[in-house]
């Protein structure tokens, strides 16, 4: 019965072929360091799920942002858990992505034929840091406000275009409601979509080229 159903599906979707290329493939024997990529992927999924739940109550305006977060922590059933997980997974994800990069670096896995996998990886690293930077402002508390004031003014010292970058980030000369809505848009729409698209390419390349083998010391 089950095999008949799969046969029927496969005839129309090619699902068995997809299964074979993604799961049913031979790869070199790998060690635990090779789990860091999938750990990053897992944490990203956690962030998507908890993040979507948070937007149900979060309000991106200076008047209401702080109170809405306060409400999530005290008024919403399990709101504290959702926010707590989102908060900690953000830090953990930066850590796993960075360690994943170091793993790839020290195993020389960025070399032929995986150069493009590496380049997409660097985009993912920068986008992940961007998520951290934009997300930090959203609770609109003292830490958020002042860290972002300093962070954006650092961008303002870039010679020539610094002032332009500063205004583009803040939506004006000072931190304001414009900054908050901008960071919100970047945090929940722009950066996640970039990450999602680039992860797809990244994983396609990982499967296409196969995971590298841990190099032996004569390699």
């Amino acid at each position: 019965m089950a095999s008949k159903l799969i046969g029927w599906l496969d005839e129309r979707t090619g699902i068995v072929g997809v299964y074979k290329t993604v799961f049913d493939r031979k790869i070199p024997r790998v060690n635990w360091w090779f789990t860091l990529g999938s750990a990053s992927l897992f944490l990203f999924s956690i962030q998507v799920v908890t993040g979507i739940l948070l937007t149900v109550y979060y309000v991106p305006s200076p008047e209401h942002a702080y109170d809405s977060v306060q409400y999530i922590m005290t008024g919403v059933q399990f709101g504290w858990l959702i926010r707590g997980v989102h908060h900690w997974a953000a830090s953990l994800m930066v850590l796993t992505v960075f360690l994943h990069m170091l793993r790839v670096f020290f195993y020389g896995a960025y070399k032929y034929p995986r150069e493009i996998t590496w380049v997409t990886g660097v985009v993912l690293l920068l986008a992940t840091l961007g998520m951290g930077f934009t997300g930090y402002l959203l609770p609109w508390n003292q830490k958020a406000y002042w860290a972002t004031t300093v962070g954006t003014s650092i961008a303002g010292t870039v010679p020539g275009i610094g002032d332009f970058i500063l205004r583009a980030l803040r939506g004006g000369a000072d931190l304001s409601a414009m900054t908050l809505t901008r960071f919100f848009a970047a945090h929940v729409w722009m950066l996640p979509l970039v990450i999602l698209a680039v992860i797809s390419v990244h994983l396609y390349l990982v499967i296409r080229n196969g995971i590298s083998a841990a190099p032996k010391d004569d390699e």
Binding site: W88, A144, V150
Partner: protein, 378 residues
């Protein structure tokens, strides 16, 4: 890499795969195990560590020490090495260079060998960079001074209770303990001015939270109401002003229902049968609500401060104002609404409720103890 090296690599890789394992289930079980461990770790962190509470953003509080998320600390620290006109080297050149190098790494590093032992320069450079980042992060953590502790009122009930305390300190001297207003006595500059009540339904129904917030923040200087917002030279943060507004709204507005938890915390303690009053349980709440507003530094009060037990017992131009066991003590006579050598009746604009006066008398008679069960002071 030339064609031969590429072919050589592909051949080796083919053999490694032949000797290898199946992605499903041999490899993926490790991935699932690690992800599951991370999941448990996250639940644990969220439950037992949580997210540290922080006060609301206050653009006027320039004394706040900015602190980025931990993974940006190394950058923050790095900038300290590029002061003044060199700043752009730390903010633009170095990070830009690092990102460019990361992107171009596979095209710059043409060494065909892969094991780190055969890539001493690349592996060494990356190690130095990572150690540098960790060292800078540690340096940043060690050198940033601790933040001044700020109390954060989380729930509505906590906000109301915090607001009540703030109201007692900052507003009672003019508006009275219940916002009842009346003739101001004992306040420099406003002596004898009569204030309308701010606890009336008229006031509550015509003033929104935003209006109350603005009045407290900016004041009504032509009428004598001082500004309290930091941006206007006062000493209250936005969170504190919001707490006061919450206190006013939920205590005085008949349309708002006081949360249970706040109600319990805001009622003054009563004496149980046979109990002797002590300072910590019974007297301090009265003093906080009715006296501290004037009896704190910077106010006219004959140098009589009432913030702690010690001050209540031992300060003032006519000290001691409390003599344990003696109902002729200055303080007792003054709250009984007598005018004596040390000054006028206290609190100046209207007497305390009789049951509170009685509580103070019993406490003094019992020897003015500080804590329940503590021996009376001499």
């Amino acid at each position: 890499m030339n064609e031969e090296q590429k072919r050589d690599y592909q051949e080796k890789y083919r053999i490694a795969k032949l000797r290898g394992e199946k992605f499903f289930p041999d490899t993926i079980y490790k991935d699932v195990l690690v992800s599951f461990a991370l999941f448990l770790l996250l639940i644990g962190l969220a439950t037992f560590v949580g997210v540290a509470p922080e006060p609301k953003a206050d653009p006027s509080d320039t004394s706040y020490i900015p602190r980025p998320e931990w993974y940006f600390l190394f950058l923050f620290e790095l900038l300290k090495f590029f002061p003044g006109s060199l700043e752009w080297v730390g903010t633009a050149v170095l990070p830009g260079l690092a990102v460019a190098l990361l992107f171009l790494l596979p095209f710059i590093d043409r060494n065909p060998r892969r094991h780190w032992k055969n890539r001493k320069f690349a592996a060494g450079l990356m190690s130095v960079i990572v150690i540098g980042m960790v060292a800078l992060t540690i340096r940043a953590v060690v050198t940033t001074p601790p933040q001044a502790e700020a109390t954060v009122a989380g729930t509505l009930a906590e906000r109301i209770v915090a607001g009540q305390d703030l109201y007692a300190v900052h507003c009672v001297e003019c508006h009275g303990a219940e916002g009842e207003g009346g003739r101001i006595e004992g306040v420099q500059g406003l002596e004898g001015v009569t204030l309308k009540p701010i606890n009336s339904q008229d006031e509550m129904h015509t003033r929104s939270d935003e209006t109350l917030y603005a009045i407290i923040e900016i004041g009504q200087q032509t009428l004598g109401m001082p500004p309290f917002g930091r941006a206007y030279g006062g000493e209250l943060s936005p969170g504190e002003i919001e707490s006061i507004v919450a206190f006013m709204r939920y205590t005085w507005d008949d349309r708002a229902e006081m949360p249970r938890a706040a109600e319990q915390a805001s009622t003054l303690p009563v004496l149980k049968p046979g109990e002797t009053p002590d300072y910590a349980t019974h007297i301090e709440p009265i003093v906080k609500r009715y006296c501290v507003s004037c009896h704190r530094p910077g106010k006219a009060n004959n140098n009589y401060l009432m913030r702690t037990y010690d001050e209540v017992m031992n300060s003032g131009d006519h000290k001691p104002n409390i003599i344990p066991g003696d109902l002729r003590s200055n303080l007792v006579r003054m709250v009984r609404w007598e005018k004596i050598e040390a000054g006028g009746p206290m609190p100046p604009s209207r007497p305390l409720k009789p049951e509170l006066i009685e509580m103070i008398e019993q406490w003094v008679l019992a020897g003015a103890p500080e804590k329940a069960g503590a021996p009376a002071t001499k």
